[in-house]
Symmetry: C2
Subunit: 285 residues, 2 copies
Amino acid sequence: MALHQSWFTEAVDRTGTAFSLKLGEKLHEEQTPYQKIEIYRTETFGHLMVIDGCTMVSTRDNFLYHEMMAHPALNSHPNPKTVAIIGGGDCGTLREVLKHATVKRAVQVEIDERVTRLAEHYFPELCSANPDPRATLHFGDGIRWMREAKPGSLDLIIVDSTDPVGPAEGLFGRKFYLDCLRALHRNGLLVQQSESPLLHLDLIRDMHRAMREAGFAQARLLHFPQPIYPSGWWSATLAQKTRGTLASRLNPATLARLKTGYYNAQTHRAAFALPNFVKTALKNS
Amino acid sequence: MALHQSWFTEAVDRTGTAFSLKLGEKLHEEQTPYQKIEIYRTETFGHLMVIDGCTMVSTRDNFLYHEMMAHPALNSHPNPKTVAIIGGGDCGTLREVLKHATVKRAVQVEIDERVTRLAEHYFPELCSANPDPRATLHFGDGIRWMREAKPGSLDLIIVDSTDPVGPAEGLFGRKFYLDCLRALHRNGLLVQQSESPLLHLDLIRDMHRAMREAGFAQARLLHFPQPIYPSGWWSATLAQKTRGTLASRLNPATLARLKTGYYNAQTHRAAFALPNFVKTALKNS
């Protein structure tokens, strides 16, 4: 069966999988200095942003990814005050971060300002926290920004990037992790999107190894559904600067104030529950 | 972008989503009295069985579904001895059920014998437990079988069916649930695949309501990844005949003997951790 112009399809040759959303129409297309961005109106998922042919964010299901990139890490740190988001230009992760009262300052370092400008237009709900006085939108190279960050100045680094090809490639390597480690304060955490547990276990294993080689004490996987990404099943990796059990600030009163669609104390714990095949694959990484 | 003959695509107009796997070739196609069955060799997911255009089972990711249809329910019952599987013709759920030493008898009631015969040929690993003396393969109408089942004769009913259209439609209604309830012994459980938590919440709500209207004391959702099904995120509903907390037979020694890829004590608990939006939708169902 062939899908024609009325569907947007992301087909990934390497994984042999494709995901499609029914359109709607193309609302915007541009080539920036970094990448090609398209915006579609879909029939059932709201707006869709596509970067270099890959589905990035949809109105309907982005809450899964954005919440799970922010809250498990923030609630695993004893007192997260300063947060840097590398990438994350659609501002959805920033919005989730700013839901935490402990956070005094959050900077989003996105290389491509056009991602943010288009998000402001087509995903205004994701940008609703941008005027927050605690937020800074910085447009520039995240790798360089991290290299120049003040040592010990960050409690949490969230790497909310595209796949490890093109501009994001350097965000998945030992050199970048060394810079992150230096920028992190005591108890500091790094969380990074780490692709599909089913399709990209090799990448996850390599990331965890690179994080430990850079000096992180521990790297833990968390996983969650994300329908518009390959396999519909996605992960993030949470790396700790120092040894010891992660904090688990799952205070019922605080959580009750957190307006979330997916995240709660139960799904926090569930995200860290690893399937046997993942445990086995990561055991000797 | 159009996907041509080198991909198999399941496009669902109603949900506005499509999933595709790269082929490979078509290995088999037949029209049975009940449905059209196709078998493909895919490039990265092994063999794929398609029924009436819907992806049913792939070599690579069926362990997720089959394990989660069997083990959470079996380990939620204090002593499951007799099990009936309605549908489940590929025999993967039966194989998982027979991994439990408590089970003395398991009958699989599949309407279409051709599903099983093709599974034996193209998914032999799923049929490896079929010669087990505790197993019975019965080919016939599951609705009728349940109507005629001896009252109180079953500890667990697993409804492992296709979507609620065509031959499986009657498996999602109050009348069928009444028959299940009568066939269940004290402490009896019914578990049924209940589609995607993101795409089919209305169906899930209707199912839970019908189960309670039939007299089940409680219906609980569990969820897990399933890449080849719409949205890549799937669920099952576990209904209890009698009130009270579910058993949680997560004995470490027993679990260590259970050879599974996804399921373990942690993913058992994780499966029952419901996202906020699901809790809200089911609250008043």
